[in-house]
Amino acid sequence: MSPAPDPEPIVRVEGLVAGYDGNILLQNVSFTVNRGEVFVILGGSGCGKSTLLKHMIGLYQPIAGKVLIDGDDIVTAEGAARRAILTKIGVMYQSGALFGSMTLLENVRLPLEEYTVLDQDAMDLIARMKLKLVGLEGFAGHIPSEISGGMQKRAAIARAMALDPGILFLDEPSAGLDPITSAELDALIRRLAGSLHITFVIVTHELPSIYAISDRVIMLDKRAKGIIAEGDPKLLRDTSDNPWVRQFFRREAELAPEAA
């Protein structure tokens, strides 16, 4: 679970300022994610975790700052350059966002159809192998509404991996799942990170998941409008100087949050 001995930054966020309608939500946020690590963005509700993620994957345009994916700035990239960056990342949305009218196989095959010139049966084989990796090989012909929420999330991970991107962004992967399914998903993420060397950037506030999967975390805070802690979650829980950070990790109530 420890990061690579010689960390190589693959995602770099520099001086990101984000907000809506004149309200600044994140002020001057900077951090790096290293190749091969499971990196978790956490924080209380409304602190801007998902907003930060959406800026990192290029869905939202920041007010200022850069998001470098493998050295290329997704904020300013356009056209073919942007498409090239997007093939390096895969995204799993909170709801799974599978296409409801397609089978799981068709969902996973879609990026291959759009980005490669492989034969149909070759794309089918790749899609089936991705579904096998997430334990859904027997459900290739099902449509999303026929499977459970946890299975939908796993299928969404398979789709995000269709083009073998180096980085996977997961938005609240454990949200709404029962503890067993959530633990299974955590195990899947660790297995994929370990065996396939995928870099994971995960937004979550599920503490068991954070302890189980993360190599490193950053913690956002609504009042600070940015990062108030960064590092190993267990160390932060035990040694952080910030009472709000300790409170968060220990799931304690009634302590007024204070910005670092």
Binding site: R35, G100, S101, L112, Y115, T116, V117, L118, D119, D121, A122, L125, I126, R128, M129, K130, K132, L133, E137, P144, S145, M161, L163, D164, P165, G166, S195, L196, H197, I198
Partner: protein
């Protein structure tokens, strides 16, 4: 199955070299970068080479492969899964350990091509039966919906304080006020086109003035109300279906039901009341715009507006206005009712909402025209 530490910075394209091995086998030497973007050509070549040597041992030499992701591994799995005689197997050698780890995660024979599905059989009798059954279910649903809606409307009539008037006024704005620009445009163009198309041939007989009779009667008795209703079926009927359909997909209707609130009373009644209030007003407005547009057109045929309007006045009486306007509340119920019904019938998923909106518009327009025909027959019998 992704970028690993040994990934080269320079992206060498996938390569394949074919050769005969000393032991009589066939050697397939892959080189460069095996990823989903670059392997399409070598994949086809390798399969063809394996198929062309069905009784020879095939060795895949991957020692010159710099990079191999899920796509490359899939290609190797595909080659390894090909059915071969026991004395002519396919094997892989020289694959770098980090890529071999990926390959070892899959049992190639677990991915043997699924059997082709049986050809679809057309069972005509079964299809007719299914169609009839579906039609019957659809009719039953519609009758039940009409019953529920009638009951809910009666309840609203007898208990007006229980009607959600705030929602009604909001829907009035959506259905009525916001539709004014499109109703204005279409009615105006309708009046212009009708007048112009009639005036050109009638001028040959010196009968341009009777264009006023034609435009007045056609718009006030028939077209003003019908065109407004068709416009609203496309605009508001589809909106009702999509809105309620999305609520159903998001389980908002289930939430209403479990809160003890009847979705028909909560969602359908307010929309039907709004439509009943707005469609007659919009139709009246469309009549006015259409008739005036005809008058403006006739100015170019040297018929003054006053003369045109006096002719309209003499040709059209209150009975005609009544005949045109009495249909409009019925149209309103049809538009809103069909839109809401299709919304309530929405199946799961985004496509379900789209299908509901389409069905709302199509069945709404068909029903509008059919009901307008029924009114025409009734008026003929009653000599209205």
């Amino acid at each position: 199955m992704t970028a690993v530490a040994s990934e080269p910075s320079a992206k060498a394209a996938a390569g394949l070299a074919l050769a005969d091995a000393a032991d009589g086998g066939r050697l397939l030497t892959f080189s460069g970068r095996l990823d989903s973007y670059s392997i399409a050509g070598v994949w086809r070549e390798a399969r063809a080479a394996a198929a062309a040597a069905p009784n020879r041992r095939i060795v895949i030499d991957a020692s010159a492969v710099d990079y191999c992701d899920g796509g490359g591994v899939a290609m190797l799995v595909d080659l390894l899964r090909q059915p071969r005689p026991a004395d002519a197997p396919i094997s892989v050698r020289g694959l770098k350990p980090q890529f071999k780890t990926l390959l070892d995660q899959f049992d190639p024979h677990a991915f043997e091509a699924p059997a082709a599905p049986p050809p679809p059989q057309t069972r005509t009798v079964e299809e007719i039966g299914r169609g009839a059954s579906q039609l019957f279910r659809d009719m039953r649903t519609q009758i039940a919906f009409i019953g529920e809606t009638t009951g809910a409307l009666w309840f609203a009539l007898t208990h007006p304080q229980r009607v959600r008037w705030k929602d009604v006024w909001y829907e009035c704005e959506q259905v009525g006020a916001n539709a004014l620009p499109i109703v204005t445009l279409i009615s105006f163009l309708l009046g212009v086109i009708l007048a112009f198309q009639a005036a050109v041939p009638m001028r040959q007989f010196g009968a341009e003035i009777f264009v006023a009779d034609l435009v007045g009667l056609a718009i006030i008795r028939e077209l003003g109300g019908l065109m407004t209703a068709i416009l609203l079926a496309g605009r508001s009927g589809a909106a009702f279906a999509a809105e309620i359909g999305t609520m159903k997909v998001n389980e908002e209707l289930n939430a209403l039901t479990t809160m003890g609130l009847d979705p028909v009373r909560f969602l359908v009644v307010t929309r039907i009341i709004a439509a009943i209030l707005m469609v007659p007003l919009l139709s009246l407005y469309a009549n006015l715009v259409g008739v005036l547009a005809g008058g403006l057109t006739m100015l170019s045929f040297n018929i003054p507006l006053v003369t045109y309007l006096k002719e309209v006045d003499s040709a059209v009486d209150l009975k005609d206005l009544f005949a045109g306007m009495v249909k409009t509340p019925v149209f309103a119920v049809l538009i809103a009712g069909i839109g809401c019904l299709r919304g309530l019938q929405t199946q799961t998923g985004a496509s379900g909402v789209g299908i509901s909106a389409t069905r709302a518009v199509v069945s709404g327009i068909v029903l509008l025209v059919a009901v307008d025909g029924i009114f025409a027959v009734i008026y003929y019998i009653l000599d209205i």
